[in-house]
Symmetry: C2
Subunit: 181 residues, 2 copies
């Protein structure tokens, strides 16, 4: 057994989650069979269903922890008291994603194309915080500026996760200069 935050989880259950995440993120949920997950995880296929009931239950379990990771990242921005810090940290956000967490984000971005899992409201707190920041800084259209910066954030994240973003630092500086932060 191993301690995850404060919940105990068996090693094999963890291995299933880890293998499923990797396969779901890189090959797609539908293209990943439960037998393949079991094989990669080194467990019997039946164990997947013992722990997660069905394939969807496994996916939901992964999505849950992925959303936790997303909220952790947003939390830091939401608690900022300084308008410029909010914008600065939003620009930094996509460049801070750890390689070890790429699969979590890949899966989330991919699933946004599945109606069932696309929830644009998840960005709402960040949009509101940015709107406040742009208002504070006397931008003409604060909410549209917020919308635009979120779009930029999503595009940058997408490019990074797909592995085609060569001039990351240069572009980050460019953006910070644009917003004077």
């Amino acid at each position: 057994m191993q301690v995850i935050t404060h919940i105990y989880m068996t090693d094999k259950k963890e291995k299933i989650l880890k293998s499923a995440l990797e396969l779901f993120a890189n090959e797609g949920v539908n293209a990943t069979s439960t037998s393949k997950i079991a094989k990669i995880a080194g467990v019997s296929e039946g164990l997947i269903f013992r722990h997660f009931n069905n394939k969807k239950g496994l996916l939901n379990s992964i999505i849950e922890s992925a959303e936790e990771k997303a909220n952790d990242l947003f939390a830091d921005i939401l608690k900022q008291k300084d308008a410029k810090s909010v914008i600065k940290k939003t620009i930094d956000l996509p460049f801070l994603i750890k390689k070890s967490e790429y699969d979590y984000w890949k899966l989330q971005f991919k699933l946004k194309w599945e109606e069932e899992y696309n929830n644009p409201k998840k960005m709402q707190p960040l949009i509101e915080k940015l709107t406040w920041a742009f208002l504070e800084l006397n931008y003409e259209k604060p909410s549209l500026e917020a919308q635009h910066l979120i779009q930029t954030f999503e595009s940058i994240s997408t490019e990074i996760l797909k592995g085609n973003f060569s001039n990351q630092n240069e572009f980050k500086q460019f953006l910070k200069h644009k917003y004077s932060v």
Copy 2:
């Protein structure tokens, strides 16, 4: 038989392509079985393989015509002689996508997450044209500006295709004002 541009295509072949496009775009390639395509198209399953050899051949055939549609849209921008027109038309681009062609674009955007079908070079001509335009207008960092506008274009397209973009016109005006076009 029916005439498509200058190539003859049987009605049933067309129906297969149409049904497959709809299903691939909305439910995903892996989640769409050839039997379901045949059922929706009102043909025998075997006919799919007669015309396209295998499922991948069918997908490739759809992708080909999707890329043609994309190139048609880009072509108009690439031939512009005026820098401001280039930027203006790029901003207009995502808002010009016809509802009847949503499925083509949905499929293209979804497939960008599959390594095999992700080809960032496809945007290169547009990036270069925009870089030229921003240089012409004396922007400090033309190529980064181009990269940024393309990102905005991709984000807007994505939001429109996912159906969560309520303030389209307002946002379009906002962008045009930002770039003074």
